[in-house]
Structure formats: C-alpha cells, structure tokens
Symmetry: C2
Subunit: 158 residues, 2 copies
Amino acid sequence: MSDYEQQNVPPSSDSGRDALPPVTQHARQYETVRNAHETELIEDYVELIGDLIRHQGEARAADLASRMGVSQATVSKMIRRLKELGLVNSQPYRSLFLTEAGQTMAETSRARHDIVLQFLRALGVRDSTARIDAEGMEHHVSDETLAIMQQFTEKNAR
Amino acid sequence: MSDYEQQNVPPSSDSGRDALPPVTQHARQYETVRNAHETELIEDYVELIGDLIRHQGEARAADLASRMGVSQATVSKMIRRLKELGLVNSQPYRSLFLTEAGQTMAETSRARHDIVLQFLRALGVRDSTARIDAEGMEHHVSDETLAIMQQFTEKNAR
DNA sequence: TATAAAATATAGCCAAGGCTAACTAGTTAG
DNA sequence: CTAACTAGTTAGCCTTGGCTATATTTTATA
C-alpha cells in the first residue's frame, strides 16, 4: 500500500503555497484555539446575562434558554458552573446577578464583540451576516488584531 | 432579593448601544456557532492531513499528534472517527490517505484558511498573530464575509 | 386561598475530545 | 535474525455540554 519511503521530502521548491509552520509553533496555534473553546461558552453566557440585565432589567434562566436556543436544563447546569467559577450569584428560583468578576468579563466580552461586529459592518458585510460571524469570531481575535479592527472601523465605517 | 417586577422594560430609549436581537434570530446565531464547533476539529484534522501529504509526501499519526499538540491516543481515536465519516482511508499501522470527500474538504478548508490568513496580513496584522487568529477564525467566517475578505486582500495587500 | 401554570432544579443519559497506561505491530541495528 | 526502539492501537477514565423526564418552587388566577 504505502510506497512512500521518503520521510523528509524537502518542500520541493513549492509543493503548494505556504510551507508548514515549525512543529512547535503549529502546535501552539491549535492549543490557542482549544483554550479559546474552553472559555467561549462561559463568556457567551456571562455576556448575555449582562446584556439581559441592561436591556430588560433582569436576567432569568428562561430567557437565557430561549436566546441561547438550548433547554432550560442545560442553562441550569451552566449556571451552576458559572456560580462555581465565581461569575454569577443567585438564590434558587430567582433571577441572576453578575459578581464583580462577572461584570468585568461581561464588559470585556461585550466590547470585543462590538468591535468585531462594527468592523464587519464597516467592511461591508450585511448586518444579519455580521451578527452571526461576530458571534463566532469574537473569541478568536487577538488583542493585536482587535486594535487594528477598531482603527479600521474609525477610519472607514458609519 | 429580587425587587425587579418589570418584565418588559422597553429599552428605555437607550439602555446602552445596540438593542438585543429578536429572540429567534439570537438563538440562530448561537446555533450557528455550536454547529461550527462540531465540524471544526474534523476540518482541522482533514486540512492538516492534506497539508502533510502535500508538503512531506505522507501523513503519519505521529506527525498529526505533534502538530496538533495532543497525544497519539487522541489522534488514533480521531482517525477512527474520520474513517467512519468516510473522509480518511488507512490500513492499521500505516500512513493516512484522504478519500474523495476528504480531499474536497481539505481543499475547501485550506482555501478558506488562506483567504482569512492573507486578509489578516493585508489588514496589517503581524504574521505570527495572523496565523493564530486565522486558525480560530476560519470556521466562523461566512461565505459572504469570505468573499469580501478576498476582494479586500486583492485591492490592498502584498 | 387553593389550585393551575410557569419557572427552576435535579437525575440520569449520551457523545465528543482530552488523558495515561498497557499492549501490539513494524522498523532498524547489532 | 533477533532485540530494542518507534509507531500505532486499545481500554478505561474524566469533563463538558447537550438532552428528556421528573420533581420542586414561585406566581398567577378562579
């Protein structure tokens, strides 16, 4: 089956576009993505709780469930985690509050989200698409890129 | 504790920046992100296998493990999934091949990745940062946005 | 003020994607 | 040609984030 014996074929001048990055750097890239995934959902919940409090005065589990598009059981479980992480406070059967740490996270996350969203709009992406893309992208944009996006939006945009 | 009784506070003119999107639209945004997460890893593996084949002539599990930064056991398990999904072929203990479907996915994924990466460079992001961000962002960029990124890169860039 | 309805919580299930440890197959060197 | 090393596999464990079904608490209404 495998008749390849050449382990280290030098990229034969150009086997196609960019060369592969060095192994350790490559691994670090994927690791960064995996780390982002761990915090992503947490941030989304905290951000949403903050938004609900701001826009409707309170955050209830049922609202989280319908806005997230998941079951109430899933939300309940998530809230337990958020409490364990010290991001949320609540009495059983009552609405949710953010701790100091939670508020900080909510604001940071919201700011990030807005910068990405406005950047996409400034680029010329339709609003509904921009919203979807921003939701997914926000957790994978470095501070460096974020700063550049912000500048871009200021120069162009509106 | 909770002394909020007003459920539907109208966004009081401006409780802050953008209003919340309608519930169903909001739920769809998160759903899109969840869906992306399901295929993300699969695509990353397939893309990497394609890259390894192109650049070094063959793709071995050990290379995947070191480049992904995970254990060989994790890679083995993943390869089983990829085979079940009809994306990869291989004999036990031998190197990996992409099926038709796998090649298609690898190419699509690679193209997407390149567009995002080049866009970030064109924007002025440093190469090492651009690589990390592209790795995370590529799965969350819609076709619409992708097209716009491509145009942007062509106009500016290099 | 009971009681029905709505909201929240808990229990228990599942799949995915990590891990380590132990085993097996292939490859290479003495 | 066999022994040692390297590569790949398997088993079994853990956490996360979904789900449904069932209990419990709060709230609203007859």
